[in-house]
Symmetry: C2
Subunit: 658 residues, 2 copies
Amino acid sequence: MNKITEKKLTQPGNTTIKDEFWGRYIRLVQDVVIPYQYEALHDRVPEAELSHAIANFEIAAGRRAGEFKGWVFQDSDVAKWLEAVGYSLKLKPDPGLERQADEVIDLIGEAQQEDGYLNTYFTVKEPGKRWTNLQDCHELYCAGHFIEAAVAYYEATGKDKLLNIMRRVVDHIDSVFGPEEGRLKGYDGHQEIELALVKLHLLTGNEKYLKLSSFFIDQRGQEPNFLHQEWESRGRITHWSGKTDHIDLAYFQAHLPVREQSVAVGHSVRAVYMYTAMADLALLNGDRALRDACVRLWNNMTEKQMYISGGIGSTHHGEAFTFDYDLPNDTIYAETCASIGLIFFAQRMLRLAPEARYADIMERALYNNVLGSMAQDGKHYFYVNPLEVWPQACSCNPGKHHVKPERQGWFGCACCPPNVARLLTSLNQYIYTVHGDTLYTNLYIGNESNFTLGGTEVAITLESRFPWEGKVSMKVNPEQSGDFGIALRIPSWSDGEEIKVNGEVVSFSESLEQGYVVIRREWKADDVIELNFPMEAHRVYAHPNLRADAGKTAIQRGPLVYCLEGADNGDLLSSISISKTGGFMETFDGGLLGGAVVVKTAGCRVDERSWNDGLYSRTKAAEMPVEVTAIPYYLWGNRGSGEMKVWIPEAERQSLPR
Amino acid sequence: MNKITEKKLTQPGNTTIKDEFWGRYIRLVQDVVIPYQYEALHDRVPEAELSHAIANFEIAAGRRAGEFKGWVFQDSDVAKWLEAVGYSLKLKPDPGLERQADEVIDLIGEAQQEDGYLNTYFTVKEPGKRWTNLQDCHELYCAGHFIEAAVAYYEATGKDKLLNIMRRVVDHIDSVFGPEEGRLKGYDGHQEIELALVKLHLLTGNEKYLKLSSFFIDQRGQEPNFLHQEWESRGRITHWSGKTDHIDLAYFQAHLPVREQSVAVGHSVRAVYMYTAMADLALLNGDRALRDACVRLWNNMTEKQMYISGGIGSTHHGEAFTFDYDLPNDTIYAETCASIGLIFFAQRMLRLAPEARYADIMERALYNNVLGSMAQDGKHYFYVNPLEVWPQACSCNPGKHHVKPERQGWFGCACCPPNVARLLTSLNQYIYTVHGDTLYTNLYIGNESNFTLGGTEVAITLESRFPWEGKVSMKVNPEQSGDFGIALRIPSWSDGEEIKVNGEVVSFSESLEQGYVVIRREWKADDVIELNFPMEAHRVYAHPNLRADAGKTAIQRGPLVYCLEGADNGDLLSSISISKTGGFMETFDGGLLGGAVVVKTAGCRVDERSWNDGLYSRTKAAEMPVEVTAIPYYLWGNRGSGEMKVWIPEAERQSLPR
């Protein structure tokens, strides 16, 4: 195996997270999520829906008889588990876990077909139908997840069995797809393999993988439209709902060639997985048109179609984007996986260009939508991440059935939990980017790292109490003194920050570049940067076009968005408004769900008792002053089923009740 | 035919509407809607979807070959047209129209089967499947509509051909359904025949029809559950979606025996049609338990599940009720037919008990939801009647696809337009009720009427400029002087009304009974009652539990609910609030869509230009004072596609912009 040259390896250096806040979640993934998921994949968790994923592999491998069960993409859950195992083993050796993974990899090898093909659904259930329904059947999608797993597992353990299995799979795919006569000019209905092939290319240096990824991306949305033709040739049959009279190409982001796309449309996870690969290819191929498309799509998505939580996807119909400024808080989708994909995309955009705005969104999605999706026990998850919840409506109004007031157990379609697991175990890859001889700091997560900057080895130690306190210390320790740059992101939420190097204040005006303070100087052993981002609760307002949030404010403190819950404020949260001018009282409550800063402010509340019966009246109900309590959004839904909301109406300060 | 005794005839007297406001709509129905619908039923309207309804009858009658087309309940459109024709002919003879109706009735007669059965779907398409899918197939529902048509047509013309056809149909139904051994213990999935059989009973005096209606009502929801058993015996097949794993009995209001029901659930049109029949039977059978159920259901529906427009049905999923206080304005259903059914139910409740609250709701539904459903041209209709519309969301957010920003042309499933037609042509039946020797005035629609009260014939002439002006004059002209009562409803929206008899003020405190001022005295020739209901724009607030309207107010003037439209205020209506304390300026605008009172008030609007890019910001956009214009809700959507909203946030009076 010939490793790719350092120059192209876009994930430089070596970073180990040492962070109280995130350390706890990463340990939770290692200690609970990964073992729990292993049991779930083996159908040994009594309270979880059956996965069938390992069973399907055992049947495909001929180890036992039986029928394929579960979703057509069930294999991918095994892959995502293996990928998380890879990252986890890189963080912390665990021979027992590695043995489990090796056994699973052996099983995968046995399920691989003579010609390299690997997919239990088409091996067991529809052997003659390979590659006949790219639109729905996720064959390349599943392969993509196994490729990501193979790369991660190789990088952690040096073991290449899964890697070799997947190289054979890709060789097979490469013989089926491509511009050559007689090959399919197609691509998967669910993007994923495109970004995976880039990873395989970066690991191996093999250009073939890069070319295949580019083929899938370039081919998408071209005329004649592959998915449309395939659907016609299947007799307009879909895997899910039989005969259909319409195929929505925008759902698959296959409505236009990717370089002509400007608006985020369709299924949001598919979209961000594709954009991630586009950004990868734009960098690796120096493809300006692709890069421009990425910037346009990024801008549309984050400036017109993103929730304050970093959630994307405004509707559960197709788990999809709707249109600009349509961000309803209660019928929302905002799938966990979609925000994880947004973080992938942000990471790749940061590799393309050191602009802090990408990291701002990465931080927003990470600390809110993604973090909030997992329960404190690691065993319950939100797939949908609403910003306003009325529990009774979730059960009694069918338009909100997809919204759950409490985190759910492991599903049969467990897409989100393993995605959280693989993100958190690889979180060290999201903290920094390197451009030239400058190290860009994107996330203030405590870590110890080593980079080669300006020709010298540099050890970095970053200490932080994020998200509770805004003080950060960063020790820069080059082996030899050297000229290089350290760039520090100024978070968009920060106001009045201060930066010192070795005790001397750094002047912002000279050194601010695209949202980073860039300090270029000769760094010497034990140089210390001190940052202080005032972490104070403040109000956030939404663009006037965002109708759902008109007249309302959200509370944010540092990267954390806050919310009101019935548990603190009583239900009927709609009756609460907060004072336009009131200040915030912030206290750290060590007893609240692992400890968190709670924010209180003055507000008022409709006095229900003042309303005399009837649905409508000429007389308004009285209001009374109340203290309003907000907690970090990511902690919502952990204290039983109750109301929750992020956007709160503002009102004049209330006088005494009538 | 033996006519029923006067005592039981619950529609007393004779009322002819003479009213500028409603006269125009009734003429529109006569001059445009009924002829247009006749052409539509014959598939001769180029811009309308094909109805197939007459064609189906021609095929069933053997006049031509062909296949059944359209919905399984397509026959009912013919029936509803005939019913409206009946009412119309009673208002105004029209030999050409009567000839058309007679021809259609001849056709219906030819389509009737030897044994009396009448239904083109099961005659043409599934001859062997009669009465095997009561749940979905609307056989009794269609029969019910033809019974209503037969009664109306007989009462207008004295012609009994359709009546005799329907008596044969009912004889056949009576041989199929009933408590007797070997008969079906079932009822229709869509209630309708129950209330129709009551009408047939009232016309003919035949107790058999009353008994059959009572059977259907009493049987509903009993265990073992007929619909559930039928579904099981069909192999869990539904007419609409093939095999299902669940039957939602609440959708059909068949989840509980009707006397045990207390909460309005399921498909809202089905519900109110059933409640109407229940109230009829409660009265005719003196059934206290049934009456109590009606009161409970009325209270739940109108005090917890009704929009300010008189709309019911909070979700398009099943066109159904959801649960108490769940009244979203933008994902609403509020079907036109459901509000018409609510008016039927209110009329029957008024016959059960003279309580003005029933008439309040009748008026609310009539002047807002129902009136607003029809375009000024009589050819375009809303099926869904939202209280908040963002046109782009209607096309781009699938959760709002059912909401239309403009009235639609005639549909294949044209349930609502003929329902509007039959309601408006029979509106004279909703103005008064008689209890004992007291005439109760429910609606202040101009009319000339004759009643027998206290043993004397009384001519009533009511003149009104409702809904624009609150002055009403009522001449009471008995043939001989006599003691009887005239009761005048004090509308719930009225504040500070005045009533005079022959110039002398009537004291309220002595004479208010259940929302009516009841004047019992010796009435003489040419007595005059003058009423003045101050018709002034005022604010209405919603119950604090009604989360969707929290912090907002609606504007109402007399019976009319008002709304803001983009056409007057510019779009982005979410950026507008009105002053908490501002007054209203009311002017009649003769040029606005047939003339209407327009209401203006002080408000403020977010200045979009003050927002610097980005979706979220610490800085709030500036606001500027604006004049806000509201028009009657029933006129919305007639000036192109734009935003509309009924519930408007209130804010402090705005100072100058920043």
